[in-house]
Amino acid sequence: MEYLIHIAILVSIYSILGLSLNLVVGEAGLLSVTHAAFYGIGAYATALLLTESGMNFFLAMLIGMVITGAIALLIGAVLSRFDGDFYALGSLGFNVIVFSILLNWQSLTNGPLGIPGIARPSLFGFSFESNTSFLTLSLVLLALVWGICTLITRSSFGRVLHAIREDEQAIQVFGYTTTYYKLVIFVLSAMLAAVAGALFASYITFIDPSSFTVNESIFMLSIIILGGLASHRGAVLGAAFLIILPEALRFAGFPTDVAAQMRQVTYGAILILLMLYRPQGLLGEYRL
């Protein structure tokens, strides 16, 4: 049972990441490959605040969200000037830069040594030490993030995003400054990723830069591509699938020395098959 709870917590965290990334990729149609950077900044901000000052987790998470949002503002200001493939490439570049900072600014982040000993959250004296309570917390936060995302996508703001996705130039003709909309959604998406980062840091109680690489961003992208872009349920489904799949493959009985590599083969094959036969993902409406 503990293992299932552990898996469920990971799925919740990655669902939050999927939902938030979907705001930029699914709703606004911008291929962002830098989400792991904000996941990482949120995680590190929370971790440092928790370990250095013993601050309450929820306060640390909020501050982490603000910090992440501020950095996203800077990055987004540059990225919003690109579109299409260049947006993807530029965002990847920013991910590499943020990762390098997390890795090399050792006086701040402890570099590759990571930050161990991060405390579990506590609220009014109740401590989320047990995995079951942590799962409850994750699900509550997931529901909140889902609610926020639904609010955004159903609002008129969301409709402008869809219009940008379908044909950016057309909507510019109508007088909308699309860069502003792209920037706002990028910052919001980053702040929500920081929530996932805070959860992750506090759950594993140890973080190091290796969890926040470009590969991780690509993984998040795969989650929403698989689940279906612009679909909230798709993000959760994609997260569940891509987290459970490697865990399920542990049981598949591959000879141990190739088992891990076989998982990679399966993962890549899924991407190829998806693109060939169902590019809109499992539950998606919108094709890339």
């Binding site: 540059v78 530029g90 390098s100 076989m262 890549g268 693109m275 890339l288």
Partner: protein
Amino acid sequence: MDIVSQIALNAVIAGAIYSLVTLGFNLIYGTARFFDLGYGALAATGGYAAFYFYTQLGLPLLLALALAILVASALGLLIEKTIYRPLRARKASGTILLVASLGVLTVIQAVIAIIFSSQFQTLSRDVAAEKVYTILGGAITQTQVLILVTALVIMLALALLLKYTLFGKAVRAVSDDDEVASIVGINTEKVMGAVFAIGSAIAGVAGVAAAFDTGIQPTMGLSLLLKGVIAAIIGGIGNVYGGIIGAFFLAIVENLGAWQFSGEWKDAVAFAVLILFLLFRPQGVWPK
């Protein structure tokens, strides 16, 4: 003066390898119009095939290299036929092709790791017998000179091919506008196949060059590819000559950066340059 010449030579050596990567990449992007991430894996395939033929089977050097390049080319062609062509037939967007190519990269890397293990392997000739030339106080080895010469030769050959042969004209026609090209009677599918075969062969050469210079690991493809992409953008995406300039420019900036700052920021510097170019000169140094 010594250190400056050495840094300059280091840049030349790195630039030579990047040029090889960019040449094939630009050729493929120019005609197929998407970022083929699988290209990186083809370079790795070339390197490993050379390792297999030369070190494991003990074939004579030139034969082993020729076979290796053939293997890379054949694999690239196979992927084009089975994955990219059907996708193109369905009018798949560039992003779908990119994600599919990501799947290709993942699968090929994992398969290489299964066959050859994840260990680092070397492909050099006897180190003691390596001749070292000194130019203006900086050192360059014979292997590195050979790599440089190879890069220049291939660049020239490709340029001549594209400019003066009927095939080259067909390639340029397809890359300008493939619908018009097919109306005019050019067999776009055949041209595309040939482009992938040639591009993949060049990837194989790049892989072999990297193998001799720094050795091989299953994960070598992605970083080579990213450098190639950055160089391509700096030089003007799709422009074969521009890519060469981009490659050396990138190498110079990287090595200058390593000289003036510390080496661990090398990746961040490369991507910062990319972002600057995307911001201020997206068409590259030498637009088509």
